[in-house]
């Protein structure tokens, strides 16, 4: 698409319009990303001798991470968290809601969508606290509802709690995305499927899915990216008890500001950046192909 200079800005002035934004992005996004590589190659710490005079350790932090059982644990928990709460949880619940709300009465649709969206827009610290209250051992609502007094959900089942929490918090996006995606499915094809007596499952698989395949992939990539980088587990469990809910973002924080191992934490940050980069590249590729 050729862009004409309809405003008469000229290249020089156009650059001046763009420059301030680029400077800020450069200082607070590009530079930190690059600097994390350098810090990750050192034994930089928050306190002690290595805080004033950090030494280069090369790939020592990475090899250290690979043999660190806590890092392995955290990687595994992150996969569990992403897979359970986003790839499966938010995806399936979001789609089911979008699908079943199509024919629902107006008040029901508004109520469900409103509540799901509210869960999404409330500040994360408030939402985390709401769930701490629900899952609390003594006064918690869940124990009252299930009649399971004394169950400390966040302590006994920390990952399951986080997965349910993130399902609650993040389903809105999938619901919204699939609601608009379902408009792409031609009603005539759904009608035909109903007339030939196709079952629900085969209707979804053979009629609906082929139309929204791209949306499913987009949605899965985005919620994966957000969930893998989500810091809210820290607000619920701080990674505990005994590292049992220490997903990568929490692990990085605990290593950096808990233990003061800035170099080590930075090397792991860099690994997370690489994972993000791969997901984002696949996503952008997909966007381009769809035009």
């Amino acid at each position: 698409m050729p862009s004409t200079d309809s405003a008469g800005l000229g290249r020089g002035r156009a650059l001046a319009f763009v420059a301030p934004a680029l400077v800020l992005i450069g200082i607070f996004l590009v530079f930190p990303a690059l600097w994390s590589i350098y810090i990750g190659l050192t034994d930089y710490t928050l306190t002690g001798p290595s805080s004033v005079n950090p030494q280069l350790v090369g790939t020592g932090n990475i090899t250290g991470a690979l043999s660190d059982p806590l890092f392995g644990n955290s990687l595994w928990l992150t996969l569990l968290f992403v897979f359970g709460s986003a790839m499966i949880g938010q995806n399936v619940l979001g789609f089911t809601l979008a699908w079943s709300l199509r024919g629902a009465r107006r008040w029901l649709r508004r109520l469900v969508e409103g509540l799901v969206l509210l869960a999404w827009i409330l500040p994360s610290t408030v939402v985390a606290y709401l769930w701490v209250a629900v899952l609390d051992r003594d006064g918690g609502t869940l124990n009252a509802l299930l009649n399971t007094p004394g169950t400390a959900w966040l302590v006994q089942y920390p990952m399951a709690s986080l997965i349910v929490f993130n399902l609650w918090r993040g389903t809105a996006f999938s619901m919204l995305l699939y609601s608009s995606a379902l408009n792409v499915v031609p009603p005539s094809q759904l009608e035909t499927a109903r007339m030939v007596g196709a079952g629900r499952f085969s209707t979804l698989k053979d009629v609906v899915f082929p139309h929204i395949r791209g949306h499913v992939l987009t949605n899965t990539l985005l919620i994966t990216l957000w969930t893998a980088n989500d810091f809210t587990p820290f607000l619920l469990t701080s990674g505990g008890p005994d590292h049992r809910s220490e997903t990568l973002p929490v692990f990085i924080y605990q290593q950096a500001l808990g233990s003061g191992a800035l170099g080590y934490a930075s090397a792991i940050s860099f690994l997370l950046l690489l994972v993000n980069l791969v997901i984002a590249l696949v996503y952008l590729r997909l966007l381009r192909r769809r035009g």
């Binding site: 800005l9 509210l118 609650w168």
Partner: protein
């Protein structure tokens, strides 16, 4: 036939009942506990009182932190909106060499460099610059993180402004600044409003960056004070937390209602709220 229809009806209703309960139950606490004379963690019908509200207003840091949030988010929002508007306008209208690459890199950056992945270098940088506990510094960090996505959303809106309007304004001798202020911005107002609200809500809910960079309780925004209140002496301050949570949530809910009423709830690429 009829039996299966009835069963389906029941299944359908049961599904929505469970979904509604799942989403509503955690929130009910936010509506009842602030006004309960003995607020606990569980749900119960409150015996109404406003004592908690008074206690929250008397808390030494509660209101200050809400003001801090306003300052922090206001600054981050203004910086983001102004710089993104300028950049989006120029990128939409002028063929700068490498523009498409730049846009591609911006989109990539906005999803790759998250607060979580960049927390260590950002902390180290601000620490070495002596900007820990600086609200202005933190606002700039937050703005820097929001800018790529903001430029992207706004460019979409500016692209939709007809060029002929600007050309006729030029014929009448308007300067580029006048064109931007009096022709383009008024037409792109829904876009600007979207960015203003989006940036404010993003900054308002941001926990990690203020938590890392604002260590002193007097400079902490509401997001971080929530955590402090909860940690205080190992047990939660249940008189203050419910009211405080409510006060802290009202602005985002109000903004959301405003936007969805005025402009409809729209999707902008792959941007999270």
């Amino acid at each position: 036939m009829t039996t299966s229809l009835v069963l389906r009806r029941i299944g359908y209703s049961a599904f929505f009942a469970v979904v509604l309960a799942f989403f509503a139950v955690p929130m009910l606490w936010l509506a009842s506990a602030p006004f309960d004379s003995r607020p606990g963690l569980g749900l119960r019908w409150p015996d109404w009182t406003f004592d908690n509200v008074t206690a929250t207003f008397d808390h030494p840091y509660a209101l200050t932190s809400l003001v801090n949030s306003l300052v922090l988010c206001g600054l981050a929002m203004i910086v983001t909106t102004v710089l993104a508007a300028g950049a989006a306008y120029a990128l939409s209208r002028v063929r700068i060499p490498g523009r498409d690459v730049l846009l591609y890199v911006l989109l990539l950056l906005s999803s790759v460099v998250t607060g979580t992945a960049a927390m260590v270098p950002i902390f180290v940088m601000m620490y070495q610059l002596g900007l820990i506990n600086s609200q202005y510094g933190t606002a700039l960090v937050i703005a820097g993180g929001m800018l790529p996505a903001a430029i992207f959303i706004l460019k979409d809106f500016v692209d939709a402004v007809p060029r002929s309007y600007e050309e006729s304004a030029r014929v009448f001798g308007a300067s580029p600044w006048q064109i931007l202020l009096h022709v383009v911005l008024p037409i792109a107002r829904p876009g600007i409003a979207t960015i203003v609200v989006w940036a404010f809500v993003q900054a308002w809910g941001n926990f990690l960056l203020p938590f890392l960079l604002l260590r002193d309780i007097t400079s902490q925004p509401a997001a971080v004070l929530m955590r402090t209140l909860y940690d205080e002496g190992g047990s939660a301050n249940l008189t203050v937390i419910p009211v405080f949570s409510l006060l802290y949530s009202i602005p985002v809910v109000a903004l959301y209602l405003f936007v969805s009423k005025r402009y409809g709830f729209r999707f902008h690429g792959g941007i999270k709220s």
